[in-house]
């Protein structure tokens, strides 16, 4: 059997370098690898290019000044439409933005997976996506239609970070919720990929209660596996846990005020993952 790829979140971060292009899985405030993002926040890594269907992963990294360039179609918390740190960072010009359409992102990742330089798509033309990304090129169909389409460049990644419900020690990753998002594309588009999960299980247990189509990640595309229970917190990780709406509201309120954000950081983000989870538990006891 293949090798044991289990490691800690700190070991994942130890394999990353400043200046890298990182893809982050999930979507908005859904199944984000937040424990890995929190480990990134504790590191000295900086100058990152982040590719993400943005949520609080983008917000937290932007607030910490880790992002040099962001590639995204949006940043949102779903139940709260605007990501407050993303908004603030954009308004102070904190990073370079590559603003692409949602489908362009998908085809850019797909091109990277297929080792193609680009994918043609009917999106972007006539919109200001072309204006704000002057390096985007169009391509004319070589067939009789002669249609002009956008050539979305491959979004190749140095590393991918994703969070799933289950994985085995070898990197076979399983999602049990309603949507795979694009986590397999992120991993296959990356030179190295790290999956955190709610629980590491024996390979023989993966299909005990689920069908084979839940096996989203193949171990050939995964370099490290981290067990981080509640590791997507405060984003959703159905069916293991829903989004923590109360905590997300607390995050939003704190992010809108510098003093409150300092308090939030001191309370929740100054220790390790265990300290974070303990602080979240204490938060809920106070709220109850």
């Amino acid at each position: 059997m293949s090798k044991d790829k289990t490691m800690t979140a700190e070991e994942v971060v130890g394999r990353l370098r400043s200046g890298m292009t990182l893809g982050i899985g999930g979507w908005g405030s859904r199944r984000k690898p937040m424990a890995l993002v929190r480990a990134l926040l504790r590191s000295d890594l900086t100058d990152l290019t982040v590719v993400s269907y943005g949520g609080p992963d983008v917000g937290l990294l932007a607030a910490a000044g880790k992002i040099r360039k962001l590639v995204t179609a949006f940043a949102t918390l779903d139940s709260v439409p605007l990501e407050p740190h993303f908004v603030a960072a954009r308004q102070r010009g904190a990073f370079e933005l590559v603003e692409l359409d949602e489908a362009m992102m998908m085809w850019g990742l797909t091109a990277a997976v297929h080792r193609l330089p680009f994918m043609p798509i009917r999106a972007g033309i006539a919109s200001d996506v072309m204006t704000v990304n002057p390096s985007l090129r169009t391509i004319t169909s070589p067939y009789a239609d002669r249609e002009e389409l956008v050539a979305v460049p491959a979004l190749r990644l140095d590393a991918a970070l994703v969070h799933l419900n289950r994985a085995d020690a070898h990197g076979n990753g399983q999602y049990l919720g309603p949507d795979p998002y694009f986590d397999d594309l992120f991993c296959e588009a990356a030179d190295t990929a790290y999956v955190s999960c709610e629980r590491i299980v024996e390979t023989s247990d993966l299909l005990k209660d689920a069908g084979p189509q839940t096996l989203l990640l193949k171990r050939a595309f995964v370099d490290g596996v981290v067990e981080t229970p509640n590791g997507a917190h405060f984003t959703s990780c159905a069916p293991d846990h829903d989004r923590d709406e109360a905590f997300q509201r607390h995050y939003v309120a704190a992010a809108r005020d510098p003093e409150a954000w300092r308090e939030f950081t001191a309370r929740f983000l100054s220790g390790d993952e265990d300290a974070y989870q303990a602080a979240v538990a204490a938060f809920h006891e106070e709220e109850a």
């Binding site: 993303f86 359409d101 798509i121 200001d128 309603p178 949507d179």
Partner: protein, 260 residues
């Protein structure tokens, strides 16, 4: 406020309910396609359409499931008839078998829409959502817009960032942009609008009862095309009202999006 047709049903039809009905009408002849409503009133409207005159519509639960029944807003479906994760949803857009109703932070007379940011894109004064799927939506499937507060800040001479493509921009870009480009209409708290003029600019199609042409002109930041005769948005039937009030939105969420 003159010339309002007084609805015969009691209690009186609210503005929010006229908006729901107008949104529903957008999907009347859509066929067996996915209705993607963004916003509470469009969501209620899409469900009303499916329960009445557009039974073939496909509807999602807002995540990855296609609903086999039509639950109240906020309730989970009792029956699931299909699976539509984001990757399939984005691919479905390219098939054209979808009619989306998006929001708009800014919209110009040609139907160019902005949800990305206000001000200079390089360093916006107000960052909003980002372009999301507006560029792919507008070039591939019918795209309507819902604006719950019709104002000159939304209906502007020029949008700051073209996310959803309007008629002038599509025409200038050529056949690959116009091939499947279709903007059936705009629905606001004041009325219903379309682009059915020779130069494809926004035109008043109907006024919600209680609204005047002058009121709409004042709330629009560009010269609006207004035909000589402007009808009122039709009244809902008694059954449509019952569905809205008792089945689809018993909690009255529509009134939070559109003031009475």
């Amino acid at each position: 406020m003159s010339g309002t047709d007084t609805p015969t049903t009691a209690p009186a039809v609210t503005r929010a309910e006229y908006c729901v009905l107008a949104c529903a009408e957008a999907w009347r002849d859509a066929g067996e396609v996915l209705a993607s409503p963004m916003g509470t009133v469009p969501m209620i409207g899409a469900r009303l359409a499916r329960l009445t005159f557009a039974p073939d519509l496909l509807l999602t639960d807002g995540e990855a499931l296609l609903m086999g029944d039509v639950p109240a807003v906020g309730a989970p479906p009792g029956v699931v008839e299909g699976w539509l994760p984001y990757r399939q949803h984005l691919a479905l857009v390219a098939t054209g078998r979808r009619h989306v109703m998006m929001g708009a932070s800014q919209l110009d007379r040609h139907g160019n829409q902005n949800i990305s940011c206000i001000g200079d894109w390089r360093r916006p004064t107000r960052q909003l959502l980002g372009v999301r799927g507006a560029p792919v939506n507008t070039l591939n499937n019918p795209t309507s817009y819902w604006v719950p507060r019709h104002s000159p800040r939304v209906f502007v001479e020029r949008v700051d960032m073209v996310c959803g493509v309007g008629h002038d921009r599509a025409a200038a870009a050529g056949p690959s942009a116009t091939r499947y480009h279709r903007l059936p209409g705009v629905i606001t708290d004041l009325g219903v609008f379309d682009f059915e003029t020779p130069d494809r600019v926004m035109r008043l199609r109907s006024l919600h009862p209680g609204v005047t042409v002058e009121q709409v002109r004042e709330a629009t930041g560009f010269p609006l095309a207004v035909p000589e005769e402007v009808p009122y948005t039709r009244d809902p039937t008694a059954e449509e009202l019952r569905l809205i009030r008792e089945e689809i939105d018993p909690r009255g969420l529509r009134d939070r999006e559109v003031r009475a």
